[in-house]
């Protein structure tokens, strides 16, 4: 997975910035659109080198579809996580069983790893402590399996099948 051309990266950055501008102003007045386009072009020229590596390749329809499918899946996991937290906080005996476990991931892309770490932090009972290469150190509130393979099966597998398509 090499880097895309500079033009494609630049166009992608400007596109994302302009969409953020549209959301922030929430008006379709031509004056607003013009000034937004000018600012996106300037800011895009300054920041596209750090913003993206793949440029327009990110807008591949398969990736976009998987991303849209990922949103409800992720929100559902998040609500379940909060009900789990509610149970642990309100239960009089405080049923926690914490520890730090190690997981392995098959993702290689840096943005993919970031997305996986964020997803792990917001889903049931786990929080990312550190990432070293392909190893994740995760604080788990209810340790069910101490081994590396078992923990990966429980924690990272459910997200990897989505994130692999989106970011690889």
């Amino acid at each position: 997975m090499g880097e895309a051309s500079r033009i494609s990266r630049y166009i992608y950055t400007v596109l994302i910035l302009f969409i953020i501008w549209l959301f922030l102003t929430s008006s379709l007045d031509p004056q607003e659109l013009t000034i937004g386009a000018i600012f996106s072009l300037v800011v895009g020229a300054l920041t596209y080198e750090v913003f993206t590596e793949r440029g327009l390749g990110n807008l591949n329809p398969k990736r976009v579809l998987y991303f849209i499918a990922y949103i409800p899946y992720f929100l559902w996991a998040m609500i379940m996580a909060n009900l789990d937290v509610a149970y642990r906080v309100l239960h009089p005996k405080r049923p926690i069983n914490p520890g730090i476990v190690e997981c392995k991931t098959t993702l290689t892309n840096n943005v993919g790893k970031l997305a996986l770490a964020n997803s792990i932090t917001l889903t049931p009972g786990t929080i990312t402590l550190d990432v070293k290469g392909d190893r994740y150190f995760i604080h788990w509130i209810d340790v069910k399996d101490k081994s590396v393979e078992g923990a990966s099966e429980n924690i990272t597998k459910p997200f990897e099948k989505f994130l692999k398509v989106i970011f690889e």
Binding site: I100, L122, L129
Partner: protein, 137 residues
């Protein structure tokens, strides 16, 4: 009272409930790491509920749709930055030596760190003789 107002109010109530849970978790949990768990998750979902609920409530109350995109982008921003802040805090806590709760079962991170240190020590020992040779020359 329109439907949008009712949905918005329900969402704000839902968010507030998780805010309460999050602060209750701060009191009840035994150590930094477990507190972080409850604080991050509940506060993030609570904020999402309150922020988007406000946007929907505004449709019913003020009749304006321009709140929705703004609240949505604030919600996405929070969703992206909150876990990173939590990660930075918990990692800083571990690095500055805050102990785990005594009930904790397993600490793979410590094992990995100590094994890394051992590898580095061995490397230094291996490099020392070659450096001496260089200085002699």
């Amino acid at each position: 009272m329109s439907v949008a107002s009712i949905i918005g109010q329900a969402l704000v109530l839902f968010g507030t409930f998780f805010y309460v849970l999050s602060s209750l978790g701060l009191i009840r949990m035994p150590d930094v790491y477990n507190r972080m768990q409850t604080a991050t998750k509940s506060a993030t979902l609570g904020s999402l509920g309150v922020i988007i609920g406000t946007g929907i409530w505004a449709i019913g109350e003020v009749g304006s749709y321009s709140w929705i995109p703004k609240t949505l982008i604030i919600a996405v921003f929070l969703l992206l930055t909150n876990p990173i802040a939590a990660h930075a805090l918990i990692r800083a806590a571990y690095k500055s030596g805050v102990p785990l709760w005594e009930g904790s079962i397993v600490d793979r991170y410590k094992e990995a760190e100590s094994s890394l240190e051992r590898v580095e020590e061995i490397k230094e020992k291996l490099e020392e003789p070659s450096q001496e040779v260089e200085t002699n020359e």
